[in-house]
Amino acid sequence: MNGEIIVNVCMGTGGIAAGAEMVMKAFQDEFAAAGLENATVQNRCKLHKVGCRGFCAKDVLVDISVDGEVSTYQFIQEDMVKRLVREHVVGGKPIREWMAGDDYHVFHDNQTKVILHDLGKINPESIDDYIGVEGYTAAKKALMTMTAEEVVNEVKNSGLRGRGGGGFPTGLKWSLCAANEADQRYVICNADEGDPGAFMDRSMVEGNPHAVIEGMIITAYAIGATRGYVYIRAEYPLAVQRLRIALDQARERGFLGEKLFGTSFEFDIKIKLGAGAFVCGEETALIASIEGERGMPRAKPPFPANKGLWGKPTIINNVETLANLPPIINKGAEWFASIGSEKSKGTKVIALTGKIRNTGLIEIPMGMPLKDIIFKIGGGIEGDKLFKAVQTGGPSGGCIPQQFIDLPVDYEGLKSVGSMMGSGGMVVLDETDCMVNIAKFFLTFTQEESCGKCVPCRIGTKRLLEILTRITEGKGKKGDIELLQELAEDVRDSSLCGLGMSAPNPVISTIKYFRHEYEAHINRKKCPAKVCNKLLTFFIRPDQCVGCGMCAKACSVKAISGDLKQPHRIDNALCIKCGSCYDVCKFNAVVKD
């Protein structure tokens, strides 16, 4: 290692969006200019593209490691590279003022990284990098030293549960599948991540595709499948491209195809691109989609484990679930079960977003209290506003209010307060968020993504949305809350698939915990968070107004009048409550109530 210099540039989708490709190019150019090009060849100075390490808000992130001494730089742009190379790479002097600060370290240090461990460290396009971190040793171990049953038992004993949302015990699902007589079985990797704001699967596939492939090999061996599919959104071009590269590399090395690792076991994987329908994340809809049908869920039972793709027993596991398998096989069920809470073992990857300082992709041990996630890893609420609630589980999850801030985040904990783990979305809300509007936001998404097959979901979610909409527009009626509750329960209880069953969750949980906000909208025609424009009155405080005229310029309906340098006024008869005046006023003179 003597004198080895490694430069890692974060090139996940987030990094690339922040300019990582240009940064990479700048490094290459600078290396060439500085005569380090040859050094690269001599293995002294390496330039790596690496996957996402979760803190995309700080991109482009660059690690420069000199003899194992790692310095992490944040917000790096191409024009900064010259100085980095000159001073740090060549000169050996790190540039302190560009380095990531405490928040970066707090963000990472409070996480427990099992499956994200190698993201941001290895080059996802290099199978050797993966092999360098014990890649494919788990698959090899399973195939060469364990029986299929032993693999199933290992996973059963680990307590691993499906990370896609349902939380069904993975080992149990496998044994149900393996118990079927069949001439063919299938393994499907569900990478159809559709929750708005979620990017767990994308980051995983972009950052460490081989781990997913290895998880699939282990699954296939355990249930006796010879064919696998990765169902992945076409909107994830980088993930798809890296997955293709990884599949080709794995085939070249004999990790896929016939006679895996020299055994008699045969397994190969095809990629199926999804067309961006949220419902295709539902396993029966996903199967229908692979079969070439419209992505519409089918009634269960029969469950896919018994009758799935082309009517054959099929295991569908989500990306994260699969990525957990290599470490379980390598380190053992006991080790895995030592992480997490009583009934939820291991870690969970969460996409932490919303009104929070540190947004990004995190991995926590199951059972970590909500407050640690929000206030430690997340660094607390942005702008020192008051924490109001956290929405978990994606668009069909529920809102958890402040009173549950100590809640352990695991399957049982979230369920106990009317929300769910889902695939791990977490949106933090503060005092400026209107809970009726939040419910409306999520319903807008789910009703658009309903496949239209069953009545409660197709029409029920539409009616829920319509009622929510009229409440936010000041047209709410007495009895609307009860009607919402009744309909939400009925849609939940009679819908065909998970989408419809869970779509009412945001409505049910916000009414449960924030009923007063609904009542304020309906009874007093007021939005306490001052979000629902149609319920607001805009006016200008004469004592604050300097008469700059900005608001009058911004007003599209000419509702604002006033002489220059004199306080202005808003004619409420004309005002359409668009909020433009509020946004442009630099003197906080425009007030909404």
Binding site: A277, V279, R294, M296, R298, A299, P301, P302, Q447, E448, E449, S450, C451, G452, K453, C454, V455, P456, R458, I459, G460, T461, K462, R463, E466, L483, E486, L487, D490, D493, S494, S495, L496, M501
Partner: protein, 348 residues
């Protein structure tokens, strides 16, 4: 056979039966809208939900296999509330113009509305407004009345093997249409019309005719090809106003375009209504009375027979007419006239 309990009744059902099938065998009524025993279960309408002991939430009985010892409840305040909500939701997106709808009286949605006594609907809101594209010769598609039960799509695919229609769009805007929302251009078997539970799919030929319950049904056999499909002629006075086929017959209620829609020849104004006679060679055929026509036939046949013998007369019977007519016809030739010169067009 397996035994299970439905609504406290011990029931025997064959292996592989669904809960719905088991219940129907025992004459226990469970409402459905998207179910047809001739097709695969679909589970879309959610009306046939039942509670099964040990399961946390209601399941659709049409898709759930009955298992040994299963305990099923088909009706409870909760289940009825869910069903009623479903029907209300359907009606909230329906024109509700039963007064002028041709399918009134033969509409599952109307029956459900009646069953659940839905006079006031708790739900109101947007209603789908489809553009009608109906220049095809046979089928009227009023998509505003579609409940998306999927029966038409499934019958076209599973039974007819054509796949002329499918689902398009998502969510509330989901609808069923031919590719690219064009007009129907298919075999026009009308299987879709026959399975549609509402007035969404009807036949152009029915327009202006009395509704089904105002028509007199007669069970008979189709007059076209050799398949021998059972058909029901629905008549009004001396007019055939509709043709249907019962689902419990050997053709399972399926018909082709000719059998289902090709019946207007019966009441064609071109039908022969009087005997015609050519009074002189080379002249025109002119209307005549029956006696004149029959007497002429007899005298001419008799004279040919007298002059040339019975084998100078021949008869062609009909592959379209009844057994009895053909029997009498060949008997006439053989026993009445005395010749075996009788054949029919089987070879063509």
């Amino acid at each position: 056979m397996i035994s299970l309990t439905i609504d406290d009744k011990k029931i025997e059902a064959p292996h592989g039966a669904t809960v719905l099938e088991a219940a129907r065998l025992a004459k226990i009524d469970i409402p459905t809208l998207c179910h047809d025993p001739r097709m695969k279960p679909f589970g879309a309408c959610r009306l046939c939900i039942v509670d099964i002991a040990g399961l946390p939430r209601p399941v659709t009985s049409c898709t759930t296999p009955a298992t040994e010892g299963m305990v099923v409840t088909t009706s409870s305040p909760r289940l009825e509330r869910l069903r009623k909500t479903t029907v209300e939701l359907l009606l909230s997106d329906h024109p509700n113009d039963c007064m002028v709808c041709i399918q009134a009286g033969d509409c599952s949605l109307q029956d459900l509305a009646y069953r659940y006594g839905i006079r006031d609907n708790r739900f109101s809101g947007a209603v789908r407004q489809h553009k009608r594209v109906d220049n095809n010769p046979f089928i009227l598609r009023d998509q505003d009345k579609c409940v998306l039960c999927g029966l038409c799509v499934r019958v076209c695919d599973e039974v007819q093997g054509v796949g002329a229609i499918g689902y398009a769009n998502r969510g509330f805007e989901s609808d069923i249409c031919p590719p690219f929302k064009k007009d129907l251009n298919c075999e026009f078997c009308g299987q879709c019309v026959s399975v549609c539970p509402t007035g969404a799919l009807t036949a152009k030929m029915w327009v202006g005719q009395p509704r089904l319950d105002g028509l007199q049904p007669t069970e008979t056999t189709c007059t076209y090809c050799g398949c021998g499909c059972n058909v029901t002629l629905h008549t009004h006075g001396n007019k055939v106003a509709r043709v249907s086929s019962r689902s419990d017959n050997h053709n399972r209620g399926w018909l082709c375009v000719k059998g289902r829609f090709g019946y207007d020849f019966i009441n064609s104004p071109e039908r022969l209504t009087t005997p015609l006679i050519r009074r002189q060679k080379g002249g025109a055929l002119e209307p005549a009375g029956w006696d004149e026509a029959l007497d002429l036939i007899t005298s001419r046949l008799q004279s040919v027979k007298e002059q040339y013998g019975p084998d100078a007369i021949g008869g062609l019977a009909s592959a379209r007419c009844t057994n009895e007519e053909n029997y009498l016809f060949q008997k006439l030739l053989r026993a009445g006239i005395g010749t075996n010169n009788v054949d029919h067009c089987a070879r063509y």
